[in-house]
Point group: none
Chain length 198, copies 4
């Protein structure tokens, strides 16, 4: 009715963000086209002017996630010079990202992401791979400057890095946010770092 008419570029952004928020709040099930449209002040069918269908919305949302992950990497690269410090900060940023955006783990596992469109699975794989590559670059640097043991594949370390957070995120989620992810991550990082230096 009183809905402002906005151009598609703007709407696409709005909608992708809304999708992310909606999933964070209600889970993948809550991501119905109707709710999504309503959230950006549109009606059901109006959404189709900007996206060709739900699939496209999901794709846009994945891109958004990729952007946020990369933004985190860039930020820690800027904020500190020493690889180990960068990693520690990235760890904390990642936790914050997940906490503020529970959609992330939900999406990663949700088969809505895959079902029907195998390309989307690939897309998500690429996003995560790119993140992992960037993380492993940091490890590599540490190996070069001698602060991290050199006898291990930095990609393995990058995957392990994710493993410092993930199960904790699940527990946080399942425990109705009672499990303290941050505290766990700090302790886990300590042990991991010990393994890193020898």
């Amino acid at each position: 009715m009183a809905t402002e008419k906005l151009d598609t570029a703007t709407r696409r952004e709005q909608i992708a963000e809304a999708a992310l928020a909606l999933i964070s709040e209600k889970g993948m099930q809550g991501l119905a086209i109707a709710s999504l449209a309503r959230r950006v002040g549109l009606v059901n069918s109006a959404l189709y002017r900007h996206f060709n269908g739900k699939d496209e919305v999901l794709d846009a949302m994945l891109d958004l996630i990729g952007d946020r992950l990369m933004a985190n990497v860039k930020a820690v690269r800027r904020e500190s010079a020493r690889p180990l410090d960068q990693l520690r900060q990235l760890l904390m940023r990642h936790i914050r990202l997940i906490r503020e955006n529970q959609a992330l783990p939900r999406i990663v596992f949700s088969e809505e992401i895959y079902s029907g469109k195998p390309e989307r699975r690939t897309k998500l794989f690429n996003i995560i791979s790119r993140y992992l590559t960037n993380v492993s670059d940091i490890f590599s640097e540490g190996q070069k400057n001698g602060t991290i043991r050199s006898d291990t594949d930095p990609l393995v370390l990058a995957v392990m890095f994710l493993g410092l957070i993930q199960p904790a995120a699940i527990l946080w989620h399942l425990s109705n946010n009672k499990f303290d992810v941050t505290k766990h991550a700090e302790k886990a990082w300590g042990i991991f770092a010990d393994g890193l230096s020898r």
Copy 2:
């Protein structure tokens, strides 16, 4: 039509197993009562003789998962005497479990599991907690006999233990089973074990 008549106890088992398998193949979305029934050779409505509804099926399925996790723990406890060996073997068993049963990670994050029934979230939390407790018991033993550093909460170690597998499992899943979880787990375990001893 020519469906054999089986008693409810048998059917419940069959159905819970089928649910697990179905999720592994098609994701939570594939878990429709109709598909489930068809899979065990029944018709839609026949399933309701054995379960009161989908909720009950999901509960039974969670129990099944819990059983399998605990069975793994018991097995490694039996097979080896040394905590570190037990853990390594548990790691491998866990990977096999997930590989054969992709349902596991999907279930954990799928809020379809919870929606409407918050008690089920708790149920799942309890299942995982119990597993973690058992794993941490192994760590404790290692600490007592001096093979594992004593300055760390064994529960933190148990959560980290899960972290050795989880992200790898995701990558395996996203890469269409190309990512080699086992190899990753071996390397990761090496590094983790180094951190454990000092």
Copy 3:
């Protein structure tokens, strides 16, 4: 399991009574074969040994109702000699019958009675007609002995007689049993009786 095996004649009675009771309590919707069977201590399918299907149960139930209506007529015929007294007592008995057995009005109006089987509609019509004939006989007697005006068709009077109760029964029903049927019937009878004598 421990269900006693009874002969069909006994079971049929049991079941018809149970049907009546069930409808009184839960309405026509509550009359599911499953509930009915359970109520007489049988299992679903066992009921089919005694009845050929739900239709037959309904028929048996209608017969039961017919019996009760006729029993009331016979009773008041016996208890008193004067037609007007008989009618008044029948009114009270009818009310009691309905109160103890809310099934009656529900059945009369329920289309489950009609739908599918037009013969059942006829059957019910016959039952009510027989009741009406008997009631009109009483009016006739009153006309013969001069206590009731003779210028009216006794059948019309019999139908009016039913009308003294019916709307009150509905109100009683809709008001959660707050509306006082008996009191209404008494007053209504007074006015009706006035019309009867002149």
Copy 4:
């Protein structure tokens, strides 16, 4: 396919009317969302754009009934000045209403109407109560101007008034429309009116 698009206000009316008609023809059991939708030329799910569910349809239908009852009262109030004439005309209108709309008595007793929603029973009670109040107002007027005996509660008279039609309506219904309600009502009114004046 070629279904014309109509606005919700129109559709709601159509649907409520259709519900009434459908019940008249097939009884409460025939009132399935699918049949209802088909009757107004819609498909199953389209109905949900206009009503939130079956409950809402039933509510709208009850309102429609209330409206019709009150419309009748208003009409006879307008058409004649003398209470007794008004009542006689209302009687005839009521009969016509029921004949054209057999749904009415069926609805009153069908507990499908209430089940799950006790408020709807109250709603129906209120509708009927309002009708009765209006009818009793006519009786009151008659008492005031001396054409109706004053020694009786006008509400009792109003309930009796309904009783002049109801059982006849049932017989009409059960006899496959052979029983002549109008003729009965005329005779019954005569006797009732006699009772009214003394």
